[in-house]
Symmetry: C2
Subunit: 248 residues, 2 copies
């Protein structure tokens, strides 16, 4: 996937622009093709933000805190675009969950050149917003949810992003280990395991081997996830709070 021209094809497919243009040539000049095998990690430029285009495979992006603690900040799958910050409060590293291929760009230079194409800027902006909204939901999970809710929500989220393989309906094949799930949910591996066992005992899910999980009852799983209830979540606000409801 790192032969010359591959990057231009990928840019073209991602943004819906012709691949033969001067712009795609200029952009692909900035690319560093990287392959990451399962378990390998990639560190990007610590002095500036990078942009990653994952052409195939699956990766995790984790942040490192003091005392060797890791927090997985996002999982990415083939076709995803994501950004890696310069080293600030936490260092970020990309790790392969399976063998993966990606292109790395210096973010600033990429934006400088891409500014010429409204279509590219629009796509980048929308993907960035999606990442932000996902990250906010993660913050809610980490800050306010029980272990049960986090695990149930995680399974639902993965069911949306991973396509159910082969025959078995409602079955997802998790590409990450229990440790990864824990590091994503702010839980220990043991707690994740216990929660999965309990969901299994409740008949809501089932496991097939180590990495396959069958979701029997999506509704019940959603109920376990503790997300906002349809309409009445405003209770709990300060009583004096007024509400100005905007509908645009």
């Amino acid at each position: 996937m790192s032969r010359p021209g591959a990057c231009r094809l990928f840019l073209s497919a991602t943004f819906g622009i012709p691949s033969g243009t001067e712009l795609t040539r200029q952009l692909s000049e900035l690319a560093t093709p990287v392959t990451v095998m399962r378990g390998e990690t990639v560190e990007t430029d610590p002095t500036a933000a990078s942009l990653a285009f994952l052409t195939g495979g699956a990766t995790k992006l984790s942040a490192l805190a003091a005392r060797g603690r890791h927090q997985i900040v996002a999982f990415h799958f083939g076709g995803d675009i994501f950004s890696i910050p310069a080293e600030g409060l936490h260092r970020h590293v990309i790790t392969g969950l399976r063998d993966s291929a990606l292109f790395l760009f210096p973010a600033r230079a990429f934006y400088d050149r891409a500014a010429a194409s409204p279509r590219i800027m629009r796509t980048l902006l929308e993907r960035s917003q999606t990442a932000l909204f996902r990250c906010r939901d993660k913050a809610v999970n980490l800050g306010r949810k029980t272990a049960r809710e986090r695990v149930a929500g995680f399974l639902l989220g993965m069911a949306e992003r991973l396509d159910c393989p082969d025959d078995e309906p409602g079955c997802i094949k998790l590409p990450m280990s229990r440790r990864d799930v824990g590091e994503s949910l702010g839980l220990t591996i043991e707690t994740v395991s216990r929660q999965i066992t309990e969901l299994k005992e409740a008949g809501i899910i089932d496991t097939r081997g180590r990495s396959c999980i069958v979701l029997h009852d999506l509704d019940q799983l959603a109920a376990q996830a503790g997300n906002v209830e349809p309409r009445d979540a405003m209770s709990g606000l300060a009583p004096a709070a007024q509400r100005v409801v905007m509908v645009q």
Copy 2:
């Protein structure tokens, strides 16, 4: 701040473009001016993402989970641009910390029109990335940090964003209550209070009344925040992990 023309001036100042253009006119047509008094909340269109331009004041953006739980996802101050998602897993509401004024836009329509200006798109993209990076750091704090670390990190972050008032150096006047701090850090009000007391007893900070905090020793506060240590945080990775260090 909601007289006609105010929006165009704000757009012009924010993006560094002339205010008399057709584009600023078209964009300002989409604006809904809103004032939020202290403690009041604003809900945006639940069916589509909104874009908010905070012209003055200070607000919090919180997400609502089941059982009346609130997680503050971000604080915003005058000049900030931020986006509010359509109602997904969690509902989001804006609440005034002080009396505030903002313009609300339907995000999609705003992007459609702003696409004509690379400068606007670039600014929106960079602000979105900053918000994402902040949110990721928050996720690390919520998922992997102790109460002490979260409170120390919070004070440091606020010291950067709030400008130290009047005379007292290293003094910040928090515009939010202890409850808000707790809802931002995934802690109870009591735990926040205890941590502040302990930091005070350690001589690292001091309090002046209810909302002023004097930061005596930024270095020691940073040490308490448990962010990544300069160079050796890779220990703790799987031993087989290889590293491909990219420097661009």
